[in-house]
């Protein structure tokens, strides 16, 4: 297990390193002078020169990369030009919105999808199964931002149950803060729940055709005991992998959903930073999001290796 973990850790480190180089390179090939882009066409030459110096643009490319990545590793993400505060501070402020949002969406999608998947698998071939599968097909096809608009119209505008947008902050109390995250989390969770329930159903049916399940049935165990005690535990392994992958989708989804609900999260921060050409914020947040995806997938890999010893030798 230790060797498996170390090998995965080595691959993760390489992936992180290359990903950071890619992000740095993409922002380096932005047409034009980044300092000029950030200040706009009306800025004086002196102001542009001062910003170039502040951003270290006078230094060679390799030096700049190492200085940037070194800073990231020590928690110094640089200073945002637009907000005039350390990027780390911005990230910390926004993270308390995006992370709970993504986690809430993940919890919602899992609590909907797994029971639905089990229900459908247990009734394979029936009209109930066909109905659920048809509903999941529609769920996959729904754009989450459109669903978000409908939720706002229904629950915020028509019934006035929750706010239509904005975030009061955690200081306003758990209730109001969670109330403003509920609709965005539902909008994010729905398409993921549709995918996850199909995966759960499919994984469960795969396991149900295994010999040991037949043995369990042959020795007279009730169908429900076979399903819950023997099949479900094994079927959850692929579900776990998909959950890890979905985290990336949820993080990316926050970019659009946070814009629909005017939530001050990481997604909105990166989107605003892009439109304001605040490149330091863009590269730091993108690398941070990518690193989160890589680390979550690494943890899922470890959990997978722990649950299924055969994988450790691959």
């Amino acid at each position: 297990m230790l060797f498996y973990a170390l090998r995965r850790l080595f691959l993760v480190s390489i992936t992180l390193l290359v990903a950071s180089i890619v992000v740095f390179a993409v922002l380096e090939i932005v047409p034009g002078d980044p300092a000029r882009l950030m200040l706009g066409i009306n800025a004086t030459e002196d102001a542009v020169a001062a910003l170039r110096l502040q951003m270290g643009l006078d230094k060679p490319l390799v030096t700049r990369y190492f200085s940037w990545i070194g800073g990231m590793l020590t928690g110094d993400f640089g200073r945002s030009y637009t907000y005039s505060v350390p990027v780390m501070e911005l990230v910390r402020e926004r993270m308390v919105v995006s992370l709970p949002l993504a986690l809430l969406a993940l919890i919602l999608s899992t609590t909907i999808a797994i029971p639905v998947g089990i229900f459908s698998a247990a009734r394979r071939g029936t009209s109930a199964d066909a109905g659920v599968m048809a509903a999941t097909q529609v769920g996959i096809a729904i754009p989450n931002f459109w669903f978000a608009l409908l939720l706002v119209y229904l629950f915020a505008v028509t019934f006035r149950l929750v706010p239509a947008g904005g975030f009061p902050g955690w200081d306003a109390g758990l209730g109001p803060a969670l109330a403003s995250l509920v609709l965005p989390a539902i909008a994010l969770a729905l398409p993921q729940a549709a995918i996850l329930s199909r995966v759960t159903r499919s994984a469960l049916l795969d396991v149900m055709s295994e010999d040991y399940i037949r043995t369990a049935r042959a020795k007279g165990l009730p169908a429900n005991t076979v399903l819950w005690r023997h099949a479900l535990r094994n079927a959850l392994i692929p579900v776990l992998t998909i959950l890890g992958l979905q985290f990336a989708f949820l993080l990316a989804g926050t970019i659009i959903i946070e814009n629909v609900f005017y939530l001050p999260g990481l997604g909105r921060l990166v989107f605003q930073a892009i439109t304001q050409r605040d490149l330091i914020v863009v590269e730091s947040v993108v690398v941070l999001l990518v690193a989160t995806v890589i680390v979550v997938n690494f943890l899922v890999d470890l959990a997978y290796g722990w649950a299924d010893p055969r994988l450790r030798t691959r």
Binding site: I14, V26, V138, P143, L205, T275, V290
Partner: protein
């Protein structure tokens, strides 16, 4: 005893048609997709109203006999806008799939033929690309290089490359040890010729199925990018842009959001059903038993 040494026969059309007509998923998907494509094609020659014409007197009309899907805040006919918008969505998604296939399939086939270092590099590179949430990167690319349909195509297309490379590689790897490939190698054919003559025809089914899936994902991605203002630019109508414009009108004209949203759902649903059906019809080995 030469059966093991010849390439598997391709299914003949009659057999394919019989299986396809018996597959509900394929039929429904094909009908929906054909309808959407037909609407897009018709929009080149005819739309009920001119989408560039603003008729402020008719603005925010609910669906009526003269405007089946109502009008928007500029008095433009929503049915006409949805029809023209379908062109943009289909074009962006289709070209993005083309980019993914054109670059990804040769890469995947090459990695499968060479194995070793080439294969390892391809797999690790695709791992890195997969680590970037596609939408985040698409937003980054279109924002940096400028919003617009062309950059949206490139942004979506780049993320299709590793997908097709992996599918092609997986399919090709399973074929290389087969006897008909060994026979071709024994006959002195090189890796390139074998790939073109024997591998590609046999992985075409896999690529077609993946193509429909990526096509539907492309429609969703284009809508998302246009919604945040980075995809198709006005005045060209696009489904995502229509949803953005509908956002502030939700309380007085919900039809402005419902119609383009339904257009996206129907198109994506049709493509997903078509993909599922094709998978069942074209490759019984991939058929989902469940």
């Amino acid at each position: 005893m030469t059966t093991g040494l010849v390439a598997p026969e391709h299914e003949d059309w009659r057999h394919f048609a019989r299986k396809a007509l018996a597959n509900r998923s394929f039929l429904t998907g094909a009908v929906i997709t054909a309808f959407v494509v037909a609407v897009a094609l018709v929009s080149f020659v005819w739309t009920p109203y001119d989408v560039t014409k603003l008729v402020i007197a008719d603005r925010l009309q609910a669906p009526t006999a003269s405007h089946w899907f109502g009008t928007d805040h500029f008095g433009r006919d929503i049915l006409s806008m949805v029809m023209v918008g379908s062109r943009n969505s289909i074009a962006v998604a289709l070209i993005a799939v083309g980019i993914g296939m054109a670059a990804g399939v040769p890469l995947g086939c090459w990695a499968a033929a060479k194995r070793g270092v080439a294969d390892e590099i391809l797999m690790r590179t695709s791992d890195i690309i997969f680590a970037f949430p596609a939408l985040l990167s698409a937003v980054m690319i279109t924002a940096i290089f400028g919003p617009g349909a062309v950059n949206a195509i490139i942004a979506i297309g780049i993320f299709n490359i590793p997908v097709f490379a992996r599918v092609a590689r997986g399919g090709a790897l399973a074929l290389w040890p087969r006897e008909f490939i060994l026979a071709a190698r024994a006959a002195g054919k090189g890796a390139g010729l074998i790939t073109v003559q024997h591998i590609l025809p046999n992985i075409a089914n896999l690529l077609l199925v993946q193509g429909t899936i990526q096509f539907s994902l492309g429609i969703l991605a284009e809508a998302g990018l246009s919604y945040v203002g980075l995809g198709t630019q006005p005045p060209a109508p696009s489904w995502g842009r229509m949803l953005f414009e509908a956002q502030t009108m939700m309380s007085i004209a919900p039809h402005m959001a419902i119609v383009p949203g339904m257009a996206i759902i129907i198109t994506v649903l049709g493509l997903n059903l078509l993909g599922d059906g094709l998978r069942d019809v074209l490759d019984p080995k991939l058929r989902r038993e469940h």
